[in-house]
Amino acid sequence: MTPEPLNREQMAWRAAQDLREGDYVNLGIGIPTLAASYVPPGREVIFHSENGILGMGPKPAPGKEDPYMVDAGKNLTTLVAGGCFVHHADAFLMIRGGHLDVSLLGAFEVSETGDLANWTTEDPAFPPGVGGAMDLAVGARAIRVIMEHTSKKGEPRILKACTYPLTAAGCVKRIYTNLAVIDVTPQGLIVLELIPGMTLEKLQELTEPRLQLSPDWKVLAPPAAPKARAA
């Protein structure tokens, strides 16, 4: 049996389980944004958006859209009770100054020492864009990445050294992929969880640097269809 990789919702669900009560968290554009919907019920996590929202809520319910409320991806969003607005310099003071507990980012590549490449593929046909990626990769107390384990061609995206230009060096502490959960440690990459049917050997084939299996490793088995929080 070929192991069934997690889908986007399941990856977001898994990352959301690690957010603790009271954490201040910035979610990057893409899969990380989905994580907001999968925080366990009753657990209060406060989401930050770099365009000046602290206490960002879910997508607006139909009919409740407010054009003055957009998230970092320019999608419509909401504010929860206890949220507030700040200007851009203060929003990035929060990011750069280490005030966020967690920054959950997408990535093109991560190296075995936690180097992150997530801002440009150097496509000559399009201008590069960096947005808040470099600020986020430098500032939060914990930088975690959600990414597909391999490229569409099946090539490893967890590498000995990134091939794309770096966003920041040595910043990533944990990687959630569609196959595993991996910690980046001074001792190297430690596999904490594997999807059902996955083995360290199979995962190693899809990963460039050497992986070590944690003695406490667990099976990574999110719900088949994680239940999203209501708006």
């Binding site: 000046g52 851009h88 201008p127 470099m134």
Partner: protein, 223 residues
């Protein structure tokens, strides 16, 4: 009696010179002074350097300035946002220069100028392609790059309410770059949805104090 209100957007942008650096507030399409950008297009200034988060949308505002060839350079963090075809065409035609900066570096460099400082060391972009060519320094074991203050000749600001002194308030996430850019230009021009009486704004909740504002024009409500 102090009265910073002017009657038209044309008066608001009068005097912007060719070669000016123009701070264009907003994030995506939210909190952008599109009416002032249109007036600046009419006004005709050329060879502009634009500082913004994005690069304009559709065929109006900043995008129109770009497609009309008025822009020499764009300093921004994320040009690829919305329908940025005006920028993309100019970029591919090499008719304008792009300087890409991290979003927090743009806002902090403007705040640095506003605060009368000579520059700062930041860990952001240190050791990356965007930090190349910048002075570096290791501080507390961490690599930093030196960032210089960034100043506008003009700032184009979108606010919700203003009084005749120029105190400003904003709506929700339309605040974004506006308060920082309002502080960082020689001439700060604001379009607002409405004027209120002096003293009507809560003194605890003024976001941009009047000292940073030069001209205000009412354009009515829009996001």
């Amino acid at each position: 009696m102090i009265d910073k209100q002017v009657k038209t957007t044309a008066e608001a942008v009068a005097g912007v010179r060719d070669g000016s650096t123009v701070l264009v507030a907003g994030f995506g399409a939210v909190g952008v002074a599109d009416n002032l950008l249109e007036a600046l297009h009419e006004q005709g200034a050329r060879e502009l350097t634009i500082v913004a988060n994005n690069s304009g949308n559709g065929d109006y505002g900043l995008a129109r300035l770009i497609s009309s060839g008025r822009v020499r350079k764009v300093i921004c963090s994320f040009p690829r946002s919305g329908d940025y075809s005006a920028f993309l065409n100019a970029y591919r035609a090499k008719s304008l220069e792009l300087e890409l900066l991290p979003q927090g570096t743009i806002s902090e460099r403007m705040r640095c100028h506003a605060a009368g400082l000579g520059g700062f060391f930041s860990p952001v972009s240190a050791g990356t392609k965007l930090g190349e060519g910048k002075e570096t320094r290791e501080i507390d074991g961490r690599l930093h790059v030196f960032e210089k203050p960034l100043k506008g000749d003009v700032a184009l600001i979108k606010a919700n309410k203003a009084d005749r002194w120029g105190n400003l308030s904003y709506i929700k996430s339309a605040r974004n770059f506006n308060p920082v850019m309002a502080m960082a230009a020689d001439l700060t021009v604001v379009e607002v949805d409405q004027m209120v009486e002096l003293g009507e704004m809560d003194p605890e909740a003024v976001v941009t104090p009047s000292i940073f504002v030069d001209r205000v024009v009412v354009v009515g409500a829009s996001a």
